[in-house]
Point group: C2
Chain length 135, copies 2
DNA sequence: GCGCTTTTGACAATCATTACCATGTCCGGG
DNA sequence: CCCGGACATGGTAATGATTGTCAAAAGCGC
């Protein structure tokens, strides 16, 4: 039963376009944002394709997804590997942070409760210096 | 400037009903679930009211809200105070956990980056013992 | 270039949540 | 006990992001 699902991934203009935009953008962007940006740049890409591409990239671990309360999904090109985000509530500025201590803590807690195959999500929200100064 | 918004909160049959159901339920439930349960129990409560009540309870800190990837909001009566959840991917069983170390870590990280007024969300997912055994 | 497979994209469908608003209900003062 | 105004309810319509559909349009290996 070697039903090898040899799904060949192809290189298309649209996919590169989405990647490029993500590379150029600093912060998190919604799918609809990216779609609008592409339109403005003259690249004709369908909204459906944007969603599909983003999902693919997310599955491949090339981008990160955030689900802010009461809003759309936000996507961002991120450094490889596991990390978390420190996000400014006001201006959206994002800092990538790592916390080995947290990683091991979640593992420990999970193991203590008999859980295996553990994953976790962690987002930190706050107000950054500049935004405090502006007030 | 004493524009006291004296919003009086009233005690209604519907609100008590929602509370009661939450008390009786163990795990996380969606708003629509709760609505269905109330219907079945003979309590006539509108879906709109269920949503409103849940929002109110969440704002008051009496219940916790979780936003699982790709699904509805889930609500649950929780112990007071700040804590996190260890959730089984398979059966939904939930364990409340506390992590003082994590709390102080997030504070420290945020301060180091000049962020103030810090909050955070943390969910741990895994597969619990029983569900592993069933496989 | 050929053909097969993947991908695209316009549009419709889905589905949880919210807005609206006329009607019902609570509650304190008389 | 009864009234009046404030608050709450709930059916329905609206919203809006995301996903499904499927015929047409590219990629890629040969």
């Amino acid at each position: 039963m070697s039903s090898e699902e040899t799904t060949v991934v192809r290189n298309t203009r649209q996919r590169s376009a989405v990647r490029d935009v993500l590379d150029r953008c600093e912060g998190f962007r919604s799918a609809q944002d990216l779609h609008a940006i592409l339109r403005d740049a003259g690249e004709k890409v369908g909204l459906t394709t944007v969603y599909r591409t983003l999902q693919g990239l997310a599955d491949a671990g090339e981008i990160d997804v955030m689900r802010p309360p009461g809003g759309e999904h936000l996507y961002r090109r991120c450094s490889q590997g596991h990390h978390h985000h420190l996000v400014c509530r006001s201006c959206g500025r994002t800092v990538e942070v790592e916390g080995p201590a947290v990683e091991s803590w979640t593992e420990k807690i999970a193991r203590e409760n008999g859980f295996v195959d553990v994953a976790h999500t962690l987002e930190i929200f706050g107000t950054c210096e500049e935004c405090v100064a502006k007030k």
